[in-house]
């Protein structure tokens, strides 16, 4: 009896914090887990064609690839395209097949519309007369490929690979390769920005942590004001400063450091991306470092000095190791944020400064190939997790300190 009561008490005690966390759990699952799940699903699940052309796809399973399919396949496709035209889903089929066999988009709606207007007895002959692309076996192969509900196509494409019609996976032709070089570039930019932020941010954080309280407040505000300013405003200000006829070039020309003809290209390239991103992300580096540095007792440095260490020695052997948790937290934040950076490179990056996120945005907004965008996002997410685990392995998450 008593024991049971204790048990219910214990459950009730646990239920309270769980209950308090419920709104957050609900919020996170609605705004993060569900969209994330549907995105991951989109990257390999594409049922549109399978649902529109079920019979044709079943017939195509028995087709041997070498010659034009038989009349039965043509008739089935004609019926299903006609239904798709009525239901107005034909464009979705055409778009998907066209992604596999470029230059076939118009053949679907064109064929379906013409077939409606004529009363063909020999459907196969009629379709071939309407468009002779129906005699091309690669078009039929593309229809069959687009018909698989589950596909690795998007993942292959997002690492510059493709599957040949006869099976083996191969690299896409050289003039279409892009994604692998963009992952590398994104990685390189994230590392460089992290390093630059560290080099610029460490002295500032050190200064804020070691000066008097009133001066520290002013310095902190100087760091925070840009942090509170809209990202777009900060990025476009860099455009004004860095462009060919911009403030910095004007000053350099006025000083006579560079000629009017040889103004420096500071923006619309990698330089612009690095400068603007370093500036935008700097507060994420400074704030955690400052928080950790503030907690380092100044007595330690005095003790080191009294034991005979010169200022450089005492900094390297006493101060710096104690500030490391802040440094790792800052580096981690800046690095992971840089991996997903998008607006700044889009505005000041030109073409040489574009990162992988810009391709995700392109496929979401312009090409409307959400499956491919989802696959690239998943790969990016995996890279972030990998970095996180490598960090945990070699540095240790317990070493992270935000203050």
């Amino acid at each position: 009896m008593f024991g049971r009561n204790n048990e219910t008490n214990a459950i009730a005690k646990r239920a309270v914090p769980i209950g308090l966390a419920l709104p957050l759990v609900a919020f996170v699952s609605i705004t993060f887990l569900i969209p994330l799940g549907s995105m991951v699903l989109q990257s390999f699940h594409d049922p549109e064609v399978a649902e529109t052309l079920p019979n044709t796809l079943r017939l195509l399973q028995d087709w041997d690839d070498t010659e034009i399919p038989n009349a039965e396949v043509f008739e089935s496709l004609a019926d299903e395209l006609n239904a798709a035209l009525e239901a107005r889903t034909i464009g979705k089929v055409a778009t998907r097949v066209n992604r596999i066999a470029s230059g076939t988009r118009s053949v679907f709606a064109k064929t379906a519309r013409r077939l409606q207007r004529m009363d063909a007895t020999d459907v196969k002959a009629a379709m071939i007369e309407i468009d002779d692309r129906w005699t091309d076996t690669s078009l039929w192969q593309a229809i069959r490929t687009a018909g698989y509900r589950f596909t690795s196509r998007h993942y292959l494409q997002s690492v510059d690979l493709k599957r040949a019609p006869d099976g083996p996976v191969q690299q896409v032709s050289e003039d279409q390769r892009i994604y692998n070089s963009l992952y590398l570039r994104t990685f390189y930019v994230a590392l460089t920005v992290t390093l630059l932020c560290f080099l610029v941010g460490y002295p500032i954080a050190y200064a804020i942590a070691s000066v008097g309280e009133s001066l520290a407040k002013i310095l902190l505000i100087v760091v925070l004001i840009p942090f509170w300013t809209s990202l777009l405003v900060r990025t476009t200000s860099w455009l004004v400063l860095l462009q060919n006829q911009g403030v910095i070039n004007d000053i350099l020309v006025w000083l006579g450091l560079v000629g009017d003809e040889s103004r420096l290209a500071l923006v619309h390239n990698m330089t612009g991306t690095l400068i603007a991103m370093t500036h935008v992300l700097l507060p994420f580096m400074i704030l955690p470092m400052y928080a950790v540095m503030r907690s380092i007792p100044p007595a330690y440095m005095r003790a080191a000095a009294s034991l005979g260490a010169n200022p450089i020695q005492s900094f390297i052997r006493v101060y710096f190791p104690q500030s490391l948790p802040g440094v790792s937290a800052g580096c981690m934040l800046v690095f992971i944020l840089s991996l997903g950076y998008y607006i700044t490179p889009a505005l000041v990056g030109g073409t040489k400064g574009q990162l992988i996120s810009n391709m995700i945005a392109y496929h979401i907004q312009n090409s409307l190939n959400w499956g491919l965008a989802a696959a690239i996002s998943v790969i990016l997410l995996v890279i972030v997790f990998a970095c996180y685990f490598i960090f945990d392995r070699f540095v240790g998450l317990d070493k992270l300190k935000l203050g």
Binding site: R88, G91, T95, S102, S106, A109, Q176, Q245, Y362
Partner: protein
Amino acid sequence: MSSSPKFRLLFLPVVALMASAVAIAEETLTVVSFGGSYAQACVDGYHKAFEEETGIKIKLEDYNGGLAQIRAQVDAGAVHWDVVDTESAPLQTGCDEGVFEYIDDLELPPSPDGVPAEEDFFDDMLTECGVGTLVYATAIAYNADNMPGDPPTSITDFFDLEKYPGRRGMQRRPLNNLEFAIMADGVPTEEVYEVLSTEEGIQRAFRKLDTIKDQVIWWETGAQPPQMLADREVLMSTAWNGRIFNAQVKENQPFVIMWDGHIRDTGAMAIVAGAPNLENARKFVAFATSTRGMVGVASHISYAPVRHSGLPRVGKHATEDVEMKPHLPTYSENSKKFLLSDVIWWSEREDELTERFNSWLAR
């Protein structure tokens, strides 16, 4: 379940309110367009007249073109846009995908001389889902104050870095750029798409683009070219003719459009599938694409009518002392050498060519 008369009376105000809401809903119309100087030209050109004559109130919204937002509304079954201003390529794709109403049964007004609409419109302007509204051009523009020596006269000059050293502005997409490149490489306009349909043709266009690649600044929004020309950030840029016109007339910029080898495309109007005010939307499309509507737009911004009866009726700018005709792409002096953008060709190859283009850019 019976209810007392008193109880039923309670519903009266509710019913009355609903009825009036329906009445209001019937008399409004949501029109979505590209914003900026163009949307203003439409408001002054024919929205006001339409509101006065029909009593239907227009709610104007802006978008950046494309199909993403329209598709989202149709897929979610929550359509609140009625009429959209669109371009020929998304019109075609959107019609196939079922996000636009079929409006090929629309009764369009004849020309002021009584020529029936089917004959008055240019070829291919009346499609299943759209009615053509205007012709615009993508052309090379430069700043006369920033052009030492002879100004460029042909599309070849745009690619000639020896004669015209300096940066170039081009839109960051393969559309139009491949055509400009292949024309500059000596292909006559009527063979452009034939040549580009071959692998050698595509490679040839990219090789031509290679020759100026280091000097190109890639723009993404229509407002960038006039700004880059004004800032002298570029020597010449591809640009939409209406934006250059606006800078010339409204901001007195010494910009010049070089019409040689310009590329023409058409704008169109479509009705979103399941539009809440379908009847009003149909009335509006017919009104906007009348000769009067097109001439109205052309008296505010330099986009040309797509009816034969339109061009002769275009006169001066509505507020500025400027003859509009010489600024229109279809004006005879400007039409000596131009290319008509092939929408079907692009709808099939845009995905593939964009991928190649991006890969080429990143190299």
